[in-house]
Symmetry: C2
Subunit: 450 residues, 2 copies
């Protein structure tokens, strides 16, 4: 195969000791890796060695439950990614940040700053935050409704792009002799007044190398897919089977077309949890070892909380009860909820079996096998209209990422699916996405800032 064909995109989803909830208990794991910046830097350097497009950090502004059962403290993602920026050269840096509990001015500025510091490598995974406990960290009694959260998210993104565009690209003159630094006719008050936000602007940071950060999104509910079609440039998603993956891919690309955007400028990256062994047996042994390390009582409590039921209602050795709530009654992570219930019903799993299946990927596709088998499944999805690339979620870190980079990446490169060297220097460049036009450049209706 040639090297000029369509290229696969890879994102490394970094998570302390790995995506398997029990990975911290393995002998190789540092249980305090979640607080160790050198651990994150080293992971990103490994991903960069493997020519990944980007690394990614999840986030939520609340202490996750079950402090007892696994590492629960998390450093703030833009801080981690800034430290990574200083220790890497090319790889993109995607941080999750909540539209529910931030101010657009502050967040837009932080991402613009990360984009400058990294030389154009910043991405923002746009999320809404569900859950009463998070709400209670920000003065509310309970979480706003799902629809309201998405409406706020949409307005948040609109305000942010206005702020990022508030300086035109050629606003800085820097003429020492004339004593003129900025051309104030090219720095705009945005004067945004909406349902959720009233923001004057301009931003106090000029337009950043990428124009603005790559916009990423991961919700797969109806609201989530509509939001993604309108705003996202890359989409992370959990798709357990090829058929579901193809259906999601077609659905989202279609929605993108319908809002008048180019479907090729919106990349879809399903998650995969690869558990790699030198033989298939070795991979399955590691998977089994991880399952044994799960505490079933803790996992059951977690599942019950997701389902909105009491733990005792889920008998470990029976199938899920018939009378679970519908997706409409679930406040957060709606599509993930349905995906898990359907998986359990389809395969007639007991609660204990379901826990085993979820332990690694929380609903993402776990794949235990050899490097060759992992490469095959990636190629299969990629060439069958189910993926533009993958969100790689190693069960165990750092070893799972190292194995992927040392064993799977060379196969993908040999097949001409993955770059062998970086050809671009920005995150948008890696993903083949255009630098956005500045919405204010050709119009003058706005009041000049000063």
């Amino acid at each position: 195969m040639g090297t000029s064909r369509r290229k696969l995109h890879l994102n490394a989803f970094l998570m302390a000791t790995g995506h398997h909830e029990a990975a911290w208990r393995l002998p190789e794991s540092d249980p305090n890796a979640n607080l160790d910046i050198d651990h994150y830097i080293s992971l990103a350097q490994t991903a960069e060695r493997g020519k990944f497009d980007s690394v990614f950090l999840a986030d939520s502004p609340v202490l996750f439950t079950h402090t007892e059962r696994r590492p629960s403290g998390k450093l703030e993602p833009t801080i981690i990614l800034t430290a990574i920026a200083a220790a890497t050269k090319k790889i993109g840096l995607i941080a999750t940040a909540s539209t529910s509990y931030n101010e657009p001015f502050n967040l837009a500025r932080r991402f613009a700053s990360l984009d400058f510091v990294s030389g154009g490598r910043a991405g923002w995974n746009i999320v809404t935050t569900a859950g009463a406990e998070a709400a209670q960290n920000f003065g509310l009694d309970d979480t706003p409704a799902h629809r309201t959260r998405y409406e706020r998210a949409a307005e948040f993104v609109e305000v942010s792009t206005k702020l990022w565009d508030s300086w035109e690209d050629d606003a800085i003159v820097a003429d020492k002799d004339a004593a003129i630094h900025g051309d104030s006719s090219k720095v705009h008050v945005i004067g945004h007044e909406g349902e959720f936000f009233k923001v004057r602007g301009p931003l106090n940071v000029p337009r950043s190398p990428q124009g603005y950060p790559l916009l990423v999104q991961a919700g797969s509910s109806e609201d989530g897919k509509e939001f993604a079609a309108r705003y996202s440039e890359a989409i992370f998603t959990a798709q357990p089977t090829l058929e579901e993956g193809k259906a999601f891919y077609a659905d989202v690309k279609d929605r993108v077309s319908r809002v008048g955007r180019d479907p090729e400028q919106v990349l879809i990256l399903p998650g995969i949890v690869p558990v790699i062994g030198d033989t298939e047996e070795e991979a399955r042994e590691l998977e089994a070892e991880l399952e044994r390390l799960i505490s079933p009582e803790y996992a059951r409590a977690q599942l019950a909380s997701r389902f909105g039921v009491e733990p005792h209602e889920l008998a470990l050795d029976e199938e899920l009860p018939e009378d679970l709530p519908s997706e409409d009654e679930i406040e957060g992570a709606k599509s993930r909820y349905t995906l898990i219930v359907e998986l359990a019903r389809r395969e007639k799993l007991t609660v204990r079996q379901l826990i085993g299946r979820l332990g690694g990927g929380r609903g993402h596709r776990t794949f235990a096998g050899t490097a060759q088998q992992v490469a095959d499944t990636i190629e299969h999805w990629f060439t069958n209209d189910a993926a533009d690339g993958f969100n790689i979620m190693p069960a165990v870190l750092p070893s799972g990422l190292e194995k992927f980079v040392d064993q799977v990446v060379p196969i993908l490169q040999e097949r001409g699916l993955l770059r062998t060297e970086y050809t671009e220097s920005t995150l948008r460049g890696h993903y083949g996405l255009a630098r956005p036009e500045n919405q204010f450049t050709e119009e003058s209706a706005l009041v000049s800032a000063r």
Copy 2:
């Protein structure tokens, strides 16, 4: 002189091309240094070579006026300092952040994250934000009143320390065999309910290396001094004469004692703008060159805005008008306002002369002279109860900081006033300040988190 005597503390106040507003126009200056992370990293490395205690960044969540006249874009300080943390080993990192337009949960987490990433080198310069334009970036029509802003700031700090203390220092067990990561009885819901904030907690980051960041403050109004006495561990201040410096020093140390704190655990660091030459004449020449580069029209507009009058009311070649507003009528930077008016009246300066005096230090003490003279004045203040150290604000960067480190620092070290090597690894360590006790460690009235 011996080396065991009381040591001087030095902070480097970093600001793009320097503290003189016209410094960007010098041939040596990069007019886009404000957006260049390598510039900031290099400045911090220079300060670390000079064994400074810390570097510091000012901030405000609004685009400063006069984009035309000088570099006005500013990267977010915790982002800059994280990049600096990755490229330095010992020097402390102090970021300004507003209590008026942040959420305590988000900000406390960001500083805790910076403290982890830097290995215990984070400091927070606590400010309130004045000005209608800043307010309008956050949904308000106008700035809250001075007193209200300080009340919110006090509650903000109270909430933040509760969040930073919400994990006891020994809350992480990390027992792989027992499958117990955190001791949930040592992770506390804070349940804060106050006038401005309602925050559940716990924070989603464990207690950081320093316990919490060094708390710094720079307001010198009545409200500001009371706030500083209650909460600050280091105070930046503008004091134009030794007499005023001594009076401020005595006043604040007295206020600290009166609220029951140890005055030695609160350091006072006046600002100084050194303009260093090989001869006094050379220093004065550089100072004169900088004054010539100031645009008087721009500077007059800036002064008028500070005074709450129209520019034409300030005749360039006359003294200030008699009927300026009183400090009570000024909304922001009250004490700086009074300081400037008193300076002009005392020395009978014309507006043009006043502009020249302010151009370098905005009211801070500008000192043009040889390295020896700068060292003498620093020692004089330090040994006469006017300072525990200095906030060094070079008129031109990087050259002003390099001259200070290469020429003034060795003199201070020879005199036994300044460390010759770092003996500590945290910012609190450098400043000789204790790691704070955890307010929750010995009580159990709080509800255990989970």
